[in-house]
Symmetry: C2
DNA sequence: TAGATTGTTAATCGATTAACAATC
DNA sequence: TAGATTGTTAATCGATTAACAATC
């Protein structure tokens, strides 16, 4: 369910840009591949956002959802690791549209320490703890080599960060249950795709196997 | 379920590297945060991979799963868009470990067309159709600007590609049901994290609200 | 044989869908 | 008022968990 909230938010933003003022659960469902029932159930569980006989107001529904997602809470973020991927995300990702302020990046390479990437200052990793002591940070983004992932995660948590956005292909874990980890595993995603196209490639054999059961 | 297969594969690879030869469903479950029952159910539905009284052989289980995921099928891939993100993934991601061969990248910028990124040739997007006519391609990876996403997706599908790995923040869709789309939405991921840390931040208020129900 | 652990069915749980009364 | 559409409960479905017989 909570995985659908960001999609609602995205869809509503698009509708808003397209100038749509109101939408019914059935129309929203059609555009997102969900049933009207599911959408009403989802939205109902957070409060009564619709109007009977009318539908949902796009503006106010989007606002409600952004509230639930915590978009206006002034969340902050630091990036650990400014290799290709870290740099790409710093340069491309619209942190502010998602309610995050990117405060700083950290790396160990003398080539980047002291520079700025898209306006974001890059400090040496040694500066991490002093920095975190001065600035409250909600989320640490990990784009370090896999070998450094757990150590950097531990340092972030030790210094008070409670959200970890993990881009390494390592299943990072923390003992404490007040730390939240969200991982982006490219590898898992591509393998899921690999599985799906493999199924498509041989529907005949599959059917055959099913028959023998 | 299929979303768990890549995780099994990853976990088994790690166990293999650590020299572990056999593992029981309960041990595997413990290390992955799943119940033993769930693991046996998952693995059973694809075939009888274990041995009663013994457990699962890490090597052969990994092999079975890689077969199911289609890792040895010689899947191929092209990249559309060599901006920061496309470049970063071309340079960092171990396509071959996931059973994919990256054949080429496409872009419109004269600055990159004709060059190579990590050994991968970059062609002009105009060359896409001729290239696809010559090389069978399983998956097209989209790291183009959001405005070009649907058009590039359509061109890939038109030219016979049936798997789309979408990195744009656009909910790409295709009419035909033989096309498989797998999206990596950074934005959805960060918003889910935002939601989770927001919940953690105010458990008190939450409890209060629950009481009033 | 005894112990361990899977294969496999049944029970439980949660999420999705259906239905319709409430109401705009 | 009539039509539309949500709020909300009940029914259905699928996925997870529990249990234990089979067997290594």
């Amino acid at each position: 369910m909570i995985r659908r909230l960001p999609r609602y938010y995205r869809q509503l933003s698009e509708l808003q840009e397209a100038g749509v003022v109101r939408i019914s659960s059935s129309a929203l469902g059609r555009s997102m591949g969900l049933t009207a029932s599911q959408i009403r159930q989802d939205l109902f569980c957070f409060g009564e956002f619709g109007q009977q006989g009318y539908g949902y107001k796009v503006d106010s529904l989007k606002e409600e959802i952004s509230e639930i997602l915590g978009i206006h809470r002034g969340h902050t973020l630091v990036v650990l690791g400014t290799g290709n991927l870290g740099r790409a995300i710093i340069q491309n990702f619209r942190f502010s549209s998602n309610g995050f302020r990117l405060l700083a990046a950290f790396d160990i390479s003398p080539a980047v320490v002291g520079t700025r990437i898209a306006g974001v200052p890059v400090y040496h990793t040694d500066e991490l703890e002093p920095f975190l002591a001065q600035h409250p940070v909600s989320v640490g983004m990990l784009t370090v080599p896999i070998s450094a992932a757990q150590e950097m995660g531990d340092r972030l948590v030790q210094a008070g960060v409670r959200g970890i956005w993990n881009f390494t292909n390592y299943e990072i874990t923390f003992d404490r249950d007040d730390v939240v980890v969200e991982s982006v595993h490219f590898s898992d995603s591509l393998l899921a795709l690999s599985y799906m196209i493999t199924q498509r490639e041989q529907p005949a054999r599959q059917r055959e196997e099913e028959e023998t059961l």
